[in-house]
Assembly symmetry: C2
DNA sequence: CGCGGATATCGCTACATCGCTATATCCCGA
DNA sequence: TCGGGATATAGCGATGTAGCGATATCCGCG
């Protein structure tokens, strides 16, 4: 498998963004649909300021995007392919045996 | 998609380890088979001390393992699921389709 | 033995990130 | 226009990580 230097840093952008338990869980939640800040903070049981801070990091990394709806700041996934990545990471990739070459 | 706090930190262990261009490229290389330190350092064009340092981190994170063969310290993948993860990251995450204006 | 290549570790400085509190900003409805 | 909920940011001390050169350790071979 070959990662060029440029391709590597691109992938690292993603990996870094989810290299934090709270951020990972935020992203995982957003995979199921948009949510607003306070709801995330409550669901994940973290202070609002921290959640907001991590959302900012995710936003700057391009993983999520925000838009205002009904007075609430709603965040959603900005990179759909994250779903595959997370699913792979989550399932511990139980399907390697399937493809026995 | 649901990541429990425990499951999240487990996944983060992996993500963190590859959240560094050099480490990512090392792991990617090891996906194709074991290699020894100096070969990695030369292939990736980095000083030996740095490669060794990152290998140490990867080793401590449990992503790679080392063994001595013919006088050389040979590193290999320790987590097979990394192959799927990297393949996904490589194929899915890096920049959007090449739309040549 | 002891040399020399291979590998690991150390000491250091610079910079990023963490978690947190307090505070600032935004925006809607009354 | 004002109050207040919703959201973002600033500042802080603590900790972590990067990269580097120098040096220490390991180990097979002659």
């Amino acid at each position: 498998m070959d990662f060029g230097a440029k391709q590597a840093s691109e992938a690292v952008r993603i990996f870094k963004a989810v290299s934090h338990p709270l951020r990972l869980r935020i992203v995982a939640r957003l995979c199921d649909g948009p949510e607003h800040v306070t709801a995330l903070a409550e669901a994940l049981e973290h202070p609002q300021s921290i959640v907001s801070q991590q959302l900012r990091i995710l936003r700057m990394s391009g993983l999520v995007a925000a838009s205002r709806q009904a007075g609430l700041q709603v965040y959603r996934l900005a990179e759909v392919r994250l779903i595959d990545l997370l699913r792979c990471a989550q399932g511990c990739c139980p399907e390697p045996p399937v493809d026995n070459h």
